[in-house]
């Protein structure tokens, strides 16, 4: 057993209001630079929708992630031989039009335009060419189902539904969407790291954050095509790939990453998970529907004395073990089975988990009135407007049971709270729901507390990073002044 710790995340989609505050916080801190204008290390997508970059989930097109064959796990289109033979031209690399062409406006025209009959306008100017351009795509172009016949209808996940279900999805009475905030998953089996010919990408041993050494990046761009989540981006100006660094300078000083900190709906949780690095290959090769369980098997119980002993033998600090015991992510993922990985079938073992949304029930338009009431107070799961198959395709490798289990638990908690605050439900009904969801009252209370009332410290349990152990005590501290932190010691100028 090789016990390692991983900073892991849970996003509670039932609480996401799609305000994009996380995206803006990230953009302002990290990607407001030349060549990075189009990058959104954190983005929020409307589902169903094609996402960013367009149709990123279509791996027949983008060729990202791993595939399992005969018990071996291999990169789909990158790797030693396929990667090096495609070194002069990467056939699976997205181009900037798959994201959007970044632009600004010629604001000065508003001041300089001569007097005339019309109001002056500020024309859109491409940030690539500096010339006027027509805007045909932009960040969140299909936000809130905007242009859904063009965008939402092409969502690759809709393949999990029948044609009739798909057609019904866009009837106005059934219209439904939810938000999917995405950052780098900081995977246990990262395709970007394995695909980088230069070895510029690596996983940090202590906290599992996947980072990219810009000094070693040689612009082969294989990380961009190999990452199935398209969370590695190519900076066209500096010729280097860039990605989410989970705000590690903030983590190292005990602060939550900017997108977590700024989340208005408080949907985000961050904590340590312990895992067994020896079993990744074995478990990543399971069949699609077994993968959710396989990943949970990989995650170790921080209360287990054997795990603690193995972790200590590996040099893990006690403070990390303490943080692992208090991790909200462990509760959501392992204790409760509420949080599920996004597209686990890409086999990267993503360490960002999502609590699936309890979507509104199906409405009926009868005798001219629109009615969403059902015999049940909050509606039955199978009458949800978006079929569970769709959620299973996103969050469980097609395993409907895993999604149903999570939704049932959440529904039971909801009923229990209704009973406790309003008291208009029969106690037998509550007991029956709790029993069906395999949920004890204590656990239901815990879920309620961590979902609705958690404090900052309960949402973000960040262990100390013990940099003091990495730097010998007798070294001159001034030697390292300015060596850790943000930015370049020299401007990222290419010149030649």
């Amino acid at each position: 057993m090789d016990v390692r710790s991983q900073v892991s995340m849970v996003f509670h989609l039932d609480k996401c209001i799609g305000c994009h505050t996380c995206s803006i916080a990230c953009k302002n801190v990290w990607t407001d630079r030349k060549g990075a204008e189009y990058m959104w290390w954190n983005n929020v997508e409307t589902k169903p929708g094609t996402g960013y970059p367009t149709k990123w989930e279509d791996q027949d097109h983008y060729g990202g992630g791993w595939e399992a064959s005969n018990g071996l796990v291999q990169l789909r289109t990158a790797g030693r031989y396929r990667g090096l033979t495609n070194i002069f031209h990467n056939p699976k690399l997205p181009v900037i039009d798959d994201y959007y062409e970044p632009w600004t406006y010629r604001y000065q025209d508003l001041f300089d335009a001569p007097a005339g009959d019309d109001q002056p306008t500020a024309r859109a100017i491409s940030m690539l060419t500096g010339k006027p351009m027509e805007i045909t795509a932009g960040p969140n172009w299909d936000d809130d189902l905007g242009g859904s016949p063009l965008y939402a209808a092409k969502d690759p996940n809709l393949e999990a539904m029948s044609p009739a279900e798909r057609a019904q999805l866009f009837e106005i009475e059934r219209l439904v969407f939810f938000y999917l905030p995405r950052i780098c998953n900081h995977c246990l089996n990262p395709a970007c790291v394995a695909s980088c010919p230069s070895g510029a990408l690596y996983k940090r041993g202590e906290d599992g954050v996947v980072v990219l050494n810009q000094e070693r990046c040689r612009a082969w761009r294989h990380c961009v095509s190999a990452c199935p989540y398209k969370k590695s981006y190519f900076n066209w100006s500096t010729g280097k790939s860039e990605k989410c660094i989970l705000c590690y300078p903030r983590l190292e000083t005990g602060q939550a990453p900017a997108c977590f900190h700024s989340c208005v709906g408080r949907i985000r949780y961050l904590g340590i998970l312990l895992y067994d690095a020896d079993r990744i290959t074995e478990l990543a090769g399971k069949s699609d529907t077994e993968l959710v369980d396989a990943q949970r098997q990989l995650i170790l119980d921080p209360h287990d004395p054997k795990v603690i002993a193995a972790a200590r033998a590996g040099g893990m600090h006690d403070s990390v073990l303490e943080a692992a015991k208090k991790s909200p992510v462990y509760k959501f993922v392992k204790d409760w089975g509420l949080a599920l990985p996004l597209h686990v079938e890409y086999r990267t073992m993503p360490m960002l988990f999502y609590v699936p949304p309890l979507l509104p029930v199906l409405g009926r338009a009868e005798s001219g009135t629109y009615d969403t009431s059902t015999p049940d107070l909050f509606g039955a799961l199978d009458q949800s407007r978006l079929p569970i198959e769709y959620l299973a395709r996103l969050f469980a490798g097609g395993n409907v049971g895993k999604v149903r289990f999570a939704l049932k638990k959440m529904m039971a908690v909801r009923y229990l709270r209704r009973q406790e605050t309003v008291g208009d439900l029969k106690p037998e009904q509550i007991e029956a729901m709790l029993a069906e969801a395999a949920l004890s009252r204590g656990e239901a209370d815990e879920i309620y507390r961590l979902t609705s009332l958690p404090t900052f410290e309960e949402r973000f349990v960040i262990p100390p990073s013990h940099r003091e152990e990495a730097i010998a005590a007798l070294d001159d501290p001034l030697e390292f002044k300015g060596a850790a932190g943000l930015g370049f010691r020299e401007p990222p100028r290419r010149a030649l």
Binding site: M1, D2, L72, V73, R80, G83, L84, I87, F88, H89, N90, P91, L93, P94, V95, I96, L128, T129, G130, N189, V193, A194, C196, P197, S198, G199, L201, Y202, K203, R204, G205, E206, Q214, E215, R216, C217, R218, A219, R221, F234, W236, S237, G239, K240, A277, D278, I280, T281, A313, G314, G315, S465, H466, R467, A470, E490, P492, R494, A495, L496
Partner: protein, 234 residues
């Protein structure tokens, strides 16, 4: 004769000194810039038809010249049979035409796409011109000074080897026609400007990828004695 001394007696040493000193210095002091600024993200379709033939052609030509330089006797013996000589000539010519095609297409691509102007530096333009010059003079030699693969190892290689033994044999070069002489000067110019251009990416060709472990995990602190070091995948 004095120009010959400068061009074929002194310039090669200047070029190689520049190559060695500046390459190492740039890698040590400014590793950030050691790569070829890829433009595929801005334009991918034409790049395929330009970049792939160009690189394949250049690689064949580079190793062809290198093999002739390293084992001239064996190459001369190999070319003693007319059919084999023909094969060498045709291979070289095909590679040259591929490189020409690729180079011209890449230049046109840079000139026509407005987006690419944003990532094309003056040094890039000069390098394209120099590469085109080198490919054209090489093709000229291949077409009009027939059986170059035979006479290259007999005449030019002795000169090149004499450069490396620090006793440049200028007599060989004096007998050369103008175009082959230009080709040699072009070659040393490329070596001289190499560390100032995107050609630096040749030196960081990712061959270690073939034998390194696929997953990289870097530890900030030293791991405890005897701690498992298993990496995650083959």
């Amino acid at each position: 004769m004095t120009t010959d001394v400068l061009l074929f007696g002194a310039f090669p040493y200047v070029a190689m000194a520049l190559f060695l000193v500046v390459s190492i210095q740039r890698y040590r002091k400014n590793a950030y810039t050691v790569s070829s600024l890829s433009s595929q993200f801005l334009e991918a379709k034409q790049l395929f038809w330009g970049s792939v033939p160009f690189h394949l052609g250049i690689l064949v030509l580079f190793f062809g010249h290198l093999i002739g330089f390293l084992i001239p006797r064996q190459v001369a013996l190999f070319g003693a049979v007319p059919l084999r000589l023909l094969i060498m000539e045709v291979t070289g010519l095909t590679a040259g035409l591929l490189a020409l095609w690729g180079c011209v297409l890449l230049m046109l691509r840079r000139m026509t796409h407005p987006r690419l102007k944003a990532v094309t530096s003056p040094v890039d333009k000069a390098l394209y011109a120099l590469l085109l010059f080198q490919i054209v003079t090489g093709l000229w030699v291949a077409l009009f000074y027939r059986w170059g693969s035979a006479w290259y190892v007999q005449t030019l290689v002795p000169y090149l080897r004499s450069v490396f033994t620090f006793q440049p044999n200028l007599a060989v070069m004096a007998e050369m026609k103008l175009i082959p002489r230009l080709h040699v000067i072009g070659a040393f110019t490329l070596i001289a400007v190499f560390p100032f251009t995107r050609l630096m990416h040749v030196l960081v060709a990712p061959l270690p990828y073939l034998w390194r472990r696929p997953q990289l995990v870097l530890w900030n602190r030293a791991r405890a004695e005897g701690a498992p070091r298993s990496e995650t995948l083959r």
